[in-house]
């Protein structure tokens, strides 16, 4: 789950960079950058949950 979380974080950033390079219209760019950020947040949540579950198991 940690690996998936980290991968989603990085994938979200790649979407943001791709939007910057491939799109020119402001609204399209804004939409894809928001989507990239959304994916990053999902990745961050997954990563956090993985570590929270690890702490619970350690107890």
């Amino acid at each position: 789950m940690k690996l998936i979380g980290c991968s989603l974080l990085f994938s979200g950033w790649l979407i943001v960079v791709a939007a910057l390079v491939m799109l020119t219209a402001f609204l399209q760019r804004a939409a894809f950058i928001s989507a990239g950020l959304g994916i990053e947040i999902v990745g961050l949540v997954l990563l956090t949950q993985a570590y929270t579950a690890m702490q619970r198991r350690a107890r």
Partner: protein, 433 residues
């Protein structure tokens, strides 16, 4: 991105004065970290701060300055999609290309020795009471030599984030006082360290209830807040003049906005804790003060006074809730609240700068988009990089002290003596003579 004119004596004097004030930010943070930790790890906390500052300064000059580069300096870059992507500085190692004569390059180097150290000491408060000194030094070396210079180059060294206007027609990502470069990178490092270290022993009971482990000296914490304000003002003035060509007239605005953001953050935290817990919480209020400074440092004087107050107030409230969520819901033991204060409030400050103001001539929506790209880069690229580096170091030099050390305290375990030896009750003092 313009730089200070070395001929302008007023700018030079202001820069030097501002840079001289910057170490006070580190002093303030060190006092806060030490005060929020336990007394049995107080000397270790201060020594760790000194070691981290020392390692960061030396490694940054040896390697980091070369990779951080400066606007107009030599860079590693590649051409893609019709744009020039400057991704790493290419100055000579050991800062040999910089002449120490008061030139912009030398002033930036002087400032960044302190800013690298400031970013490096942020995670220390998260790892207090359990992060060993040797891995602290190693992690700091990698942070100041590899991770920090990379992002510094992207934002302050003429890298791709500062070139968004030239390459893609949107506003450049702007970080006037180091909210992203210093605070958020430091805060993300703190998050990674907290994940790897796990909570202090005794922090959570078997059924998952969090135990309050109060800081041992709240007076030091509150005094540290005042000291930090002085340092923050110096830091914001220096970066604004050196990196973003702020005029001496704008210095007044920077000072006023810094005080207003910090004050609003502190008062918001006081009010929030008063409403939620029926009494103001001193340590959370101190966190609110620093959160206000952190959030306000993204925009410095480039937002109105009212906006500075709003940015600080939201940061204060946000921090109060984030500290609780991290501690109670996510089981992240962060004694100094560094993740919430530096990463959380820093990200809010960067977005708020996009909402309330801009230094460039672009529209606010364009500027907000650029700020979001910066935040996405911090979360999507810098966090995995920082965490990867920490996982690697932790594999070879374990971060966490052993079980006995956890109970003994870091002072006795690692330094062999406590910070407050007079507080120890010696058994032989009670033996009849």
């Amino acid at each position: 991105m313009n730089q200070v004119n070395p001929v302008n004596q007023l700018n030079l004097t202001l820069c030097l004065l501002s840079i001289l004030l910057t170490p006070f930010a580190a002093a303030g943070l060190a006092l806060i970290h030490q005060g929020l930790g336990r007394s049995r790890s107080a000397a270790h906390a201060m020594l760790s701060t000194l070691c981290a500052l020392s390692v960061a300064a030396i490694v940054f000059v040896l390697v980091g300055a070369s990779w951080a580069g400066h606007a107009g300096g030599a860079v590693h870059s590649f051409q893609a999609a019709g744009a020039q992507w400057s991704w790493l500085g290419n100055d000579a190692l050991l800062a040999r290309s910089i002449v120490l004569d008061g030139s912009p390059g030398s002033l930036i180097l002087c400032l960044q020795i302190f800013t690298a150290g400031l970013a490096a000491i942020i995670p220390l408060s998260t790892g207090t009471d359990r992060w060993r000194l040797a891995p602290i030094c190693l992690a700091t070396a990698l942070f100041a030599g590899l991770v920090y210079p990379l992002f510094v180059h992207w934002v302050w060294g003429g890298g791709w984030l500062s070139q968004l206007a030239a390459n893609f027609g949107i506003a450049p990502f702007e970080d006037m006082g180091g909210a992203a470069v210093i605070q958020v990178t430091g805060g993300l490092m703190a998050l990674s360290v907290a994940w790897l270290l796990g909570p202090r022993r005794g922090k959570y009971s078997d059924d998952g209830m969090a135990t309050a482990i109060p800081g041992h000296n709240i007076v030091l914490v509150l005094f540290g807040c005042i000291i930090a304000l002085v340092g923050w003002i110096g830091l914001e003035c220096a970066t604004s003049i050196l990196i973003y060509a702020a005029t001496p007239q704008q210095i007044v605005g920077i000072m006023i906005n810094a005080v207003l953001s910090a004050s609003a953050g502190c008062l918001a935290a006081v009010l929030t804790t008063q409403i939620r817990y029926r009494k103001p919480d001193a340590s959370l209020s101190a966190n609110g003060w620093i959160a206000g400074l952190v959030a306000g440092s993204a925009a410095c004087s480039f937002v109105s006074l009212a906006a500075a107050i709003l940015i600080g107030a939201v940061a204060g409230v946000l921090t109060t809730y984030m500290v609780e969520i991290f501690e109670l819901r996510l089981l992240v033991d962060d004694p100094g609240g560094a993740i919430s204060v530096h990463a959380g409030a820093g990200i809010w400050g960067l977005i708020a700068f996009g909402i309330f103001g801009t230094q460039s001539n672009m529209t606010l929506s364009n500027h907000l988009l650029a700020q979001l790209i910066g935040v996405a880069t911090l979360l999507g690229f810098m966090l995995p990089l920082i965490h990867g580096v920490n996982l690697l170091v932790n594999r070879f030099v374990p971060y966490r002290v052993d079980r006995d050390g956890d109970w003994q305290g870091m002072d006795i375990r690692e330094l062999g003596a406590g910070a407050y030896p007079e507080f120890v009750i010696h058994a032989d003092e009670f033996i009849p003579r």
